[in-house]
Symmetry: C2
Subunit: 159 residues, 2 copies
């Protein structure tokens, strides 16, 4: 009956890959996270490569990216030179360390761009300039609303 378990696990891994792909990411991100998420124990690079059927080089690159997002963690076993990866199980930490910082960064860069474009037309007084100013102000209102949504304590709690 091991086959059914393997199938169930593998389908989840594939689904994780497809989900990542649908967000424009390398499917390996989702596959690797899911494999670790469903694994009893942490896995080393070679195990990850073997089970996902890709080279160790890919695993090396993708795993460091996943780690930088806080989605997986590096752990050591004493007396073993290798290191192992385990999935971050606390979704809150994953969101707070990985997702939110990147969104906040984008929102910040958007604010900078809007301000910069506004300053470029500071002295202009044409109809076109007025329209552009209006639209940029509107965009800034949208942007600020999103920002406050993220900071909202109620929303934070729900995450």
């Amino acid at each position: 009956m091991g086959t059914n378990i393997d199938n169930a696990r593998w389908e989840m891994i594939e689904a994780g890959g497809r989900t990542c792909q649908s967000f424009g990411l390398n499917p390996l991100f989702g596959q690797m996270y899911m494999l670790l998420y469903l694994s009893r124990e942490p896995l080393c690079l070679d195990q990850l490569a073997e089970r996902l059927g890709v080279s160790k080089a890919s695993i090396s690159i993708v795993s460091r990216q996943l780690e930088s997002w806080g989605a997986i963690r590096r752990v050591w076993k004493r007396g073993d030179r290798r290191y192992f990866f385990e999935a971050e199980m606390e979704i809150r930490r994953l969101i707070e360390r990985g997702l939110l910082p990147s969104i906040i960064k984008k929102l910040d860069s958007a604010r900078h761009q809007i301000e910069r474009s506004l300053s470029l037309i500071d002295e202009a007084d044409s109809e076109d300039a007025k329209l552009l100013r209006d639209r940029l102000a509107d965009a800034e209102r949208r942007r600020a609303r999103l920002e406050s949504l993220i900071d909202n304590p109620i929303v934070r709690k729900l995450l």
Copy 2:
């Protein structure tokens, strides 16, 4: 002083492209939406192609995708065979028609996959099966939480 206005607009268009790119999307989506968002009047395919410096074929494909997401709208001028596009200015509508449906679809497909994997190991009773069941149940809890977050009236209002 038309140059400064053009610069301000073009920088916003480029920023829109970069934002889309950072989400793994074709930059043209962001560029095109931003161009329409900052435009006084709706623009036709040829105008979009000319102003963004790409072929009409690309515009044709990308515009229909944007339209299907509810990000832009098709409008007609009487006595003109061409049709024109304008940006959807109501961010709420954009979220409700474009973003949320796609998220809901993903959450739904995730639920299906979890259920399917659970049913595959229905009869299994090994330690591995138990662990997998636990993890899948945990994943389902996460998923359901996200779903309820989207449905939460407080959150809906904030959007």
